[in-house]
Amino acid sequence: MADLNIPDNQETPEDPTAAAEAVRSASILAVFVIFFTLALAFVYFLTKPAIDASAAEEKMRSIGEVLPTAFYDNDLLTDTLELPAVAELGLDDVSTVYRARKAGQPSALVVEAVAPDGYAGKIRMLVAIAANGDLIGVRITLHKETPGLGDYIEPKKDKNKDRPWITQFKGLSLVQVSDADWKVKKDGGRFDYVAGATVTPRAVVKAVHKALKYADANREQLFARSAK
């Protein structure tokens, strides 16, 4: 390839030119790419049903953590509503609202919310809100808070196993807790926090408050029947 200007002292009649060599390499690379792409496509379709099934199961499990099954008798995974990016929920992407109904009557909403101002980026959560405006539960689904410090918002990592931090939202509503009280105690509100990690709970409290307000203002539309 690179040695075209060096006199060729080996008499090899079919010494390939640079162009021929390049074409050969490119074709071999293409063959490898096609082969591995096909192999990956095959594995993808082979594993897809199992992955979809476990994703649905996992979704139901995480919904189950915020919303007890007693609240609904409909299929939550089909009675959904696609929301565009809702700024009030901190979302910059489409999200799904799960609508729980009991005997046809709206009973609760499960919405996704994002606290954009965590200590280490965004904190994603699921918030379950009853039709009467009471909070049923909050669970953090994704965060990058400091391990061992800010990660107590996740009940699995919370050292307080009897009453994990995240459970204090249960049963609260906008009526019960005034706007000024939706803060951690350090800021004059009513929510506990762990000393040394205030940014994280502050962000979560704020996001939950906003989600409650959003659900309150849009309840009728969110429950309206046009599924999917």
């Binding site: 050969r24 199992a50 992955i51």
Partner: protein, 229 residues
């Protein structure tokens, strides 16, 4: 095929002489990010072990068909395909383990060690030897990252085996220091990884130097070669 001395040589190489973290200083990115606990360190190492053994094996099988000039893209292609297959396979059939390790698996391809072993070993050796080399490099990672994670976890949180219940549900983390130990945070933050790893590399060099001195061999220069994110 492969002879017994070769097996011994490859194994010793992976676990100690050419230990990826302590001698080659490869794969620092996952090392710093993951070794906040022993369970995380060991889990990622085992996943890397599987990927390295498989990609080494496939590269060694195909080594005679890969032109020298385009070997790097082909190696990356093979390693990335293996990572993706492991990722999909674990997601589908070992879902609970996947929930714990899932985020680490795609990161394996960014580990220089994978490409490094393919280039240095798999491209020149038989498939069985190459697979063994990948696996032994992985074992070297398992004990190094496990110990590193354990030390950092102990300093940072005063407990060990945090998160083991996610991998083996019947086991519980072990609280070693009293529960009111406030935690020495530097242990689990990235600087702690550098400090502990530095001590670890020094310890290894000391062991090697002492072994050489005992046999009256010239003391080898302290080793920390390579280096890559």
């Amino acid at each position: 095929m492969i002879t017994l001395p070769e097996i011994k040589q490859i194994s010793l190489n992976g676990v100690w002489t050419q230990n990826s973290s302590l001698v080659q200083i490869l794969g620092m990115c996952p090392l710093l990010a993951i070794t906040t606990s022993m369970v995380n360190g060991v889990s990622l190492s085992i996943a890397t072990l599987v990927v390295m053994a498989l990609s080494n094996f496939f590269v060694a099988c195909l080594r005679n068909y890969i032109p020298h000039e385009i070997r790097i893209p082909v190696f990356i292609l093979i390693a990335a395909a293996v990572v993706t297959v492991v990722d999909l396979g674990m997601n589908a059939y070992l879902h609970d383990l996947y929930l714990v390790l899932g985020i680490f698996i795609p990161l394996i391809i960014t580990n220089c060690l994978v490409l490094g072993r393919i280039e240095v070993f798999a491209a020149k050796n038989s498939p069985v030897g190459a697979a063994l080399d990948g696996a032994m490099m992985g074992i070297g990672m398992v004990w190094t990252l496990g110990l590193l994670g354990g030390i950092r976890e102990f300093i940072g949180t005063g407990s060990l085996f945090g998160g083991i219940d996610l991998v083996i549900p019947s086991l519980q983390p072990l609280q070693i220091l009293p529960a009111d130990y406030p935690g020495f945070l530097i242990g689990i933050l990235p600087p702690g990884a550098f400090i502990v790893l530095g001590c670890f590399v020094a310890w290894r060099n000391w062991v090697v130097a002492r072994a050489a001195a005992r046999e009256n061999l010239p003391i080898p220069a302290p080793l920390a070669t390579g280096g890559c994110h």
